[in-house]
Assembly symmetry: C2
Homo-oligomer: 137 residues x 2
């Protein structure tokens, strides 16, 4: 990353020094926000592992999500192109969800965070423990 003297708005830079497009910046913030909604990553993971799942199968396997939240999560993911929704015109209804190429690569992009967490789990815990102990005295 390179030095940035501009006051406002903030300009992000990649580690190699390439300044980032504001649009990219906006998308990154959206992505992180979306994934942080707590259900998106779980759905992504399940579809990553199992390819295709029906609404109720997702509902059951996630466990703890409400129907409303599952629907909302799936709609947002579909809208952004991470998953594909297929409706079969049968009675009772049958709807299948499957991960797309885009969703697949997104999952992989978050992999760096996973590896960081694995590697630094203890450092973070230690830091927090030290911090908390200092305040409690």
């Amino acid at each position: 990353m390179i030095k940035n003297k501009s006051i406002n708005p903030i300009t992000y830079h990649a580690p190699d020094g390439t300044p980032a497009d504001p649009e990219v910046q906006k998308l990154v913030e959206e992505l992180i926000g979306q994934v942080a909604d707590k259900w998106t990553m779980i759905v992504l993971e399940l579809l990553y592992e199992q390819g295709t799942l029906r609404f109720t199968e997702l509902f059951r396997q996630i466990g703890g999500i409400s129907q409303k939240m599952l629907t909302q999560t799936l709609r947002n993911m579909e809208r952004s192109g991470f998953i594909q929704r297929t409706v079969y015109p049968v009675v009772p209804p049958k709807v299948e969800y499957q991960i797309t190429e885009l969703g697949l690569t997104l999952g992989e992009a978050f992999c760096g965070v996973w590896m960081w967490a694995e590697k630094n789990l203890k450092h973070v815990h230690t830091a927090r423990k030290n911090y908390d102990e200092e305040r409690s005295n």
Copy 2:
């Protein structure tokens, strides 16, 4: 990632098939949540670029954040060990914040998401546009 037949709780896997520790999983979710709080990443970036900054300098450069939120963000980041807080016993008070090694590597870990966003910006926009157009008819 490998197939996972367990119903609940969900077990995450790395792309190479290594099952993830529940503790790591929890930390990943926390990290993404923390970074998604909208200010953490901005602070991380500023300290990444400029090394050390005082409270008011951060406050000014971020622009739009409230003092309360800045304080809260800085405390959380300090607690997790991403930044270091140094208080100089002078009047008026002087407090400096600087990024740690841990914070530095965390920023780099999120780089994969950045690169994904850069590469797939158009795909996402197209997907969203198509989705929105289909509903408006």
